[in-house]
């Protein structure tokens, strides 16, 4: 069967998106692969389709539980029943059942933690897989912002002689991270595909302010006067809440979004935004994963993000419908200091390293530190991984190095923020690509006719009002 026919039969599409066919053909030819595709561009199809052609199970290693859940749901929705998620959510009985029948599934999702368990390894060693997929592969890079030590540990697992092809997937990857992925996973001359990072329909604006107060004024006015839907990215939860409050007071349809809210609340906001009940989301960088809204017209960064990859990913949420959209980066002297403070705030410090050793000496579980809230979960993961392997001095040196790398990433972002040349050329160049053609309304330095892109906020959108409980109950269950 032709690939297109398989595509139509199982997924209902008639054509491939850029890169998908190439990646799939490489896998079917038994090659390793690295596929860098943005979220929402059909990354998962690269292993889902081979799953229907190759007759043995596909193993997908995914570091984020929520993401794993999403993908399992997605497959179930297209009618796939032979799919299982082997994770810590399973009860002992469920896990035993899943392991016993493991070779009968078409898609096996699992976490790096689970993969390190002996019974799981033993079972996998006894069965044949057609393909191993490493999702969110940038987590493997110790320079990545969400480094997962367990991913490093599974590296060994991949170096074995007879193994099926490995496909590494990621939405964000710079050359450095790609190199890390290649070596850590011991990929053999992998086929590499990287999407064209340039998004010609997004104009890249930038506004520089003399001080913070001016910036705040500008934001308030801009949001009042121009039309959404839009995302305003903020550097902290508190600022997101403050701005959202101010906008709400001004009668705008706005909500704050950050990881401090409960899962339901976050989903409510996403749905309100998608349904058009909200015009703006004031968010931290927690917003965006899995958001499927194609008509976002503006993405504004109140301050510099931590690195260029984040910036690209965040502005990439605008204009998915192919219509013109606008990204505006705001800058004021000293913003880079704030960014540096934020990116290293989450790292373990030298005193954490000492304390870890001290606890080990006292034969106390070091995870005590986590329970006491002395540091974040990510920080503890990094600390624990290296402390088990290396001396105090080595760990400290490593952490210093990590801080420097993070500073460097901020400086790279700063360079793009302050450039007097074409911003688009710089951005694309950062990912090792060459800009083919400059669009009209390219960037701040090439010139943007804002009036051509920004639509004025003409009418006062009506705030959604609460209706009586009986009507609401009817609306939910019966309609009208």
């Amino acid at each position: 069967m032709e690939l297109e026919q398989t595509l139509a039969k199982y997924f209902g599409y008639t054509t491939f998106r850029p890169g998908q066919r190439e990646v799939i053909e490489a896998i079917l030819a038994g090659k390793d692969g690295i596929a860098l595709l943005p979220t929402g561009m059909g990354k998962s199809l690269c292993y889902q389709l081979p799953g229907y052609i190759l007759q043995k199970p596909v193993l997908i290693v995914s570091p984020l539980l929520s993401l794993m859940q999403d993908q399992v749901e997605q497959l179930k929705r297209i009618g796939e029943k032979r799919v299982v998620a082997l994770n810590s959510f399973l009860s002992l009985t469920e896990k035993r059942y899943a392991l016993h029948f493991l070779e009968q599934y078409r898609f096996i999702f699992t976490s790096p933690e689970m993969l390190l368990q002996q019974q799981v390894q033993e079972k996998l060693a006894k069965m044949e897989l057609s393909l191993i997929v490493v999702d969110e592969a940038h987590c493997i890079s110790q320079w990545g912002f969400d480094f997962r030590p367990d991913y490093l540990r599974i590296g060994e697992w991949f170096s074995q002689e007879k193994r099926p092809p490995v496909l590494a997937l990621s939405a964000t990857a710079t050359q450095k991270v790609v190199n890390d992925i290649r070596t850590t996973l011991s990929l053999h001359a992998p086929f590499e595909f990287m999407y064209n990072v340039d998004r010609p329909t997004i104009s890249l604006g930038r506004v520089v302010f003399a001080d913070r107060a001016d910036k705040a004024k500008w934001i308030l006015q801009h949001i009042k006067e121009t039309a959404g839907p839009g995302i305003l990215y903020m550097s902290s939860r508190k600022r997101a809440e403050q701005y959202s409050e101010a906008f709400t007071q001004a009668g705008l349809r706005v909500a704050a979004y950050h990881a401090g809210y409960g899962a339901e609340d976050r989903q409510f906001i996403q749905q309100q935004f998608i349904d058009g009940e909200l015009d703006w989301i004031v968010a931290t960088n927690a917003f965006g994963m899995g958001i499927n809204k194609s008509d976002i017209r503006q993405v504004i960064h109140e301050t510099m993000p931590a690195n260029v990859a984040n910036y690209m990913q965040e502005i990439g949420r605008a204009g998915r419908d192919g219509e013109p959209a606008l990204a505006i980066l705001l800058y004021c002297d000293g913003d880079e200091e704030l960014a540096k403070f934020v990116v290293t705030g989450d790292l373990p410090s030298a005193s954490h390293v000492d304390r870890y050793q001290e606890l080990v000496r006292q034969q106390v579980q070091p995870s005590q530190m986590l329970k006491n809230g002395e540091l974040s979960e990510t920080a503890f993961r990094v600390l624990a991984y290296w402390s088990q392997k290396e001396s105090v001095e080595q760990v400290k040196a490593r952490l210093n190095q990590l801080v420097l790398e993070k500073y460097q990433a901020v400086d790279e972002m700063l360079k793009i923020t302050q450039t007097k040349d074409c911003i688009r050329t710089q951005l694309v160049g950062y990912f090792g690509q060459k800009l083919q053609e400059k669009p009209e309304n390219c960037c701040e330095n090439c010139g943007i006719h804002y009036d051509e892109i920004n639509t004025e906020r003409l009418k006062e959108e009506k705030k959604v009002e609460m209706i009586p409980w009986e009507s609401r109950l009817k609306q939910l269950l019966i309609g009208f």
Partner: protein, 342 residues
């Protein structure tokens, strides 16, 4: 609402405990002391209403109370209600919480209900894919089985559930605004739910107060569903969520041995626990089991003396009672107090 509840708890604790006792009650701490306080001071309603209540939020409320001159704080952590505080406490509304029997399980009920409503709403709109509001695989599996058992594909389930919800909500003696609040925590196709922030600001109160109003409604709803057999669907959704075994696990084991006829001393030996621990268990049992008799440990005359003294001196403090009622152990006093009020 939070302040009113806290004031009521302080009022009931009768200046005889530290402020932390109220905190443990709200968090639903399962320690012997807290469980005893629940029985002694009749705090069942409030038990475990806010399992995640941050200490800072609690402390803030207490210091507000001092500022308002509702109570005096002592260095030992004890407090005493002032006249103004007592007046305010008596003016507070009567709440219909039932923390003792649900202990947070109301959230499990609501997770099931939310996913059922969401599924039915999308199904009615002919949309077969949506992002489930509950990510918990156990809830998802439960709801899937429920929907399949009720042949949701026939399309009648929406109407049935609508009627039951309408009936139960109409029956509840709570304000329409409170029912509205709960309905806005549900979501469906083209009808997203509202966040706590949005609801609280619409209702002009704190997020915590909105959450408490939500819990109160669920408790009354669950009790209504449990007391009447007319709610076929809701009865199933609420199944198994009302706490039956009110004892802690260890006390449960002691209760079993005691029922089999073993004496206190024998249980101490059998279980290889301290005598004081087994005594704690027996007090817990006295409080929770209406059929448990304290007769083997205390005579009726002795019990009568304790009740009189407690009334006369307006106290449930063991130390004070120990001084005025002669010849009785602390264990006996606790048994009498535990049994006396229940």
């Amino acid at each position: 609402m939070f302040h009113q509840i806290l004031l009521q708890i302080f009022h009931k604790l009768n200046n005889e405990r530290t402020v932390s006792a109220a905190y443990h009650v709200l968090r639903g701490k399962r320690s012997g002391q807290t469980i005893q306080d629940i029985g002694l001071f009749q705090l069942h309603n409030y038990f475990g209403l806010l399992p995640k209540l941050p200490r800072a939020t609690f402390d803030e409320a207490v210091s507000t109370f001092s500022q308002y001159s509702w109570l005096n704080m002592q260095e030992s952590g004890h407090y005493s209600m002032k006249k103004l505080g007592l007046q305010r406490a008596e003016q507070t509304a009567t709440f219909l919480f039932d923390g003792w029997h649900y202990r947070g399980n109301e959230h499990a009920f609501f997770a099931r209900l939310s996913l059922i409503v969401q599924s039915l709403s999308y199904h009615r709109a002919d949309m077969h894919s949506f992002s489930p509001i509950s990510k918990d695989p156990q809830v998802q599996a439960w709801v899937r089985a429920f929907l399949v058992n009720h042949n949701y594909q026939l399309g009648h389930l929406q109407q049935q559930l609508f009627e039951e919800c309408q009936q139960v909500l109409t029956a509840l003696p709570l304000a329409d605004r409170q029912k509205q609040l709960v309905l806005y925590r549900l979501s469906g196709h083209s009808s997203p739910g509202w966040t706590w922030q949005q609801l609280a600001s619409e209702r002009n109160e704190s997020v915590l107060d909105s959450q408490l109003a939500f819990i109160e409604l669920l408790h009354t709803l669950l009790n209504e569903v449990h007391q009447n057999s007319t709610y076929a669907l809701l009865g199933q959704i609420a199944d198994g969520l009302r706490i039956k075994a009110l004892l802690t696990d260890s006390a449960q084991q002691t209760a079993q041995l005691y029922e089999q006829g073993y004496s206190l001393e024998q249980i101490v030996q059998l279980r290889n626990l301290k005598q004081s621990t087994i005594e704690d268990h027996l007090v817990e049992i006295a409080m929770n089991e209406p059929n448990f008799s304290i007769g083997p440990f205390v005579s009726y005359e002795e019990a009568e003396k304790v009740w009189q003294a407690s009334k006369h001196y307006q106290t449930k403090k063991l130390k004070a009672l120990h001084e005025v009622v002669e010849g009785m152990s602390y264990f006996q006093l606790r048994l009498v107090l535990a049994k006396g009020e229940v």
